[in-house]
Amino acid sequence: MKKKDLDGKKFEELMNELDSIVKELENGDADLEDSIKKYSEAMEIVKVCSDKLNNAEEQVNKILKSDGTLEDFNVSDEPQEEEE
């Protein structure tokens, strides 16, 4: 699978794929060529997943305003209020 295809996938899909390849390699008795192919594929997924986690900037939280637009907001900017 090409890296580009992997980048487009959801993180969860990637993790599931990774899990199933690892299990397949561990349980099956695929021949060497196939194993190496799967191994490379899994390593590619590992890399994409790690990159997604490591390189992703911290997401800015949004709040839906009454006019229907989203506005950035940060929890720590606000005074903490006690629940009534």
Binding site: E12, V22, S50, V60, L64, V75, Q80, E83
Partner: protein, 426 residues
């Protein structure tokens, strides 16, 4: 001294206590909540019962004039709010509450409504496990429907940020208590389902409060909005002990808002560990596989045949030799055998002395000749016998001839011609 002590009757005492109590303003206007027990409706329309809570009880009476105004029929177990006064019933020397007004305790009423709604929705299948969608394990976009200025919101958001900072939170501010709460929550759940937000998970909830405060999450409309949500919903209402309808219908119930955030997202470091672990397993697997194959390969390499490539040839060549040997031996045997036979034939007596065979044959020929000589009819003639022919036929009887036939008589040295003169039978 005895004369100085004044004794009062029971009635007098009870009466004075009643008067004392009636003079206390706090007893004129009391508001009590409790549960009805030992309820008795007297024939004349007065109601007698005991009002209790977990620890104590008080007798209560409601006279017909007040009872007629009741909007419900009280019974044992009802939780009620009572307005009235406290006074003493002198006959039995007990104090009791005289009820002017009594209404069902709203909370008890709410709980009853809640039970009914719960049963109805359960029957409809809204709580069925089959309808529960799995909560995505690694959500990148989470929606939160809650009050915008409450601790619950910051609990949820800060927990998500701490555990899984790559996840974006979109807050859908809702009114979470009071009259407008129900509609506000429903419209925000619907809004959050708009595909443009691309949400993986939706957290719906609020912090702790009284049952009245949490009530919006027991509303049927809210339950249905959660049920119909395309995005999987985690409910997070109040504290651990609080269960609302929203909790039953949600795909996952969290005990608290913070708990919801913890359930919604993985811990980043755990996740990185998981990925590293996969990597380790992959490497180990492929390493072991290659190691195993290398070992197998080595086994082949060191095998006798591969390390002595001529060996197979040698074995075959050896076999061929043995065939050749066997063939040679066979042929030789055969030749020897035939030679022996030939020698044997060669040494045969006859072959060694062929003249014997000639002599032997000559002798037997002579024997035959002699035999033939004996049989030669001419030999008989030499002894004086003769052969008589009549016109070419050998005469053996008198019947073979007629008178005057010319007979040809063969004797040893010639023929005698004669005529038949007569025959004489012997």
């Amino acid at each position: 001294m005895q004369d100085e002590i004044k004794y009062y009757s029971v009635s007098q005492y009870n009466e004075s206590i009643r008067r004392f109590i009636d003079s206390v303003p706090e007893c004129h206007d009391v508001h009590i909540k409790g549960e009805i027990s030992n309820f008795k409706g007297a024939t004349r329309g007065h109601l007698y019962f005991t009002l209790k809570d977990e620890e104590s009880r008080i007798n209560a009476v409601m006279f017909k004039s007040a009872a007629d105004k009741l909007e419900f029929t009280p019974k044992d177990g009802d939780k009620v709010l009572i307005d009235g006064r406290i006074s003493v019933y002198t006959v039995s020397g007990t104090y009791q509450v005289y009820c002017d007004r009594m209404v069902p305790d709203g909370r008890g009423d709410l709980l009853k409504k809640l039970e009914e709604l719960k049963k109805k929705l359960e029957k409809e299948g809204l709580f069925d496990a089959a309808h529960k969608r799995p909560i995505p394990k690694y959500p990148m976009h989470i929606g939160v429907v809650t009050a915008p200025n409450k601790a619950a919101k910051s609990d949820i958001i800060s927990t998500i940020k701490r555990r899984f900072p790559v996840c974006q939170v979109i807050l859908f501010p809702a009114i979470v208590q009071g009259e407008n709460a129900k509609d506000s929550i429903v419209s925000m759940i619907r809004e959050a389902n708009d595909p443009k937000y691309n949400l993986d998970t939706l957290i719906v909830g609020r912090g702790g409060g009284s049952i009245e405060d949490l009530w919006a999450f027991n509303e049927e409309d809210v339950a249905r909005a959660i049920y119909n949500s395309r995005v999987p919903v985690i409910s997070a209402v109040g504290h651990e002990v609080d269960f609302t309808i929203a909790d039953f219908v949600a795909d996952l119930r969290a005990p608290t808002p913070t708990g919801a955030a913890e359930m919604a997202v993985p811990n980043m470091s755990d996740l990185i560990n998981t990925i590293n672990n996969y990597q380790i397993r992959l490497n180990e697997n492929i390493y072991n596989k290659i190691k195993l194959l290398r070992k197998e390969l080595n086994n082949y390499k060191t095998s006798y045949v591969l390390s002595n490539p001529l060996a197979t040839f040698e074995i075959k060549s050896q076999k061929l030799d043995s065939y050749i040997d066997r063939l040679n031996m066979y042929i030789n045997n055969k030749i020897t055998l035939d030679k022996t036979k030939l020698e044997h034939i060669k040494t045969n007596h006859i072959l060694m002395h062929p003249e014997e065979l000639f002599i032997k044959n000559k002798n037997s020929i002579e024997l035959y000749i002699n035999k033939l000589k004996l049989l030669n009819p001419l030999n008989v003639l030499s002894k004086g016998y003769s052969l008589v022919n009549d016109n070419g036929n050998l005469v053996k009887s008198i019947n073979d001839v007629k008178i005057n036939d010319e007979l040809n008589i063969r004797v040893l040295d010639g023929y005698i011609i004669s005529n038949v003169k007569g025959v004489d039978k012997k």
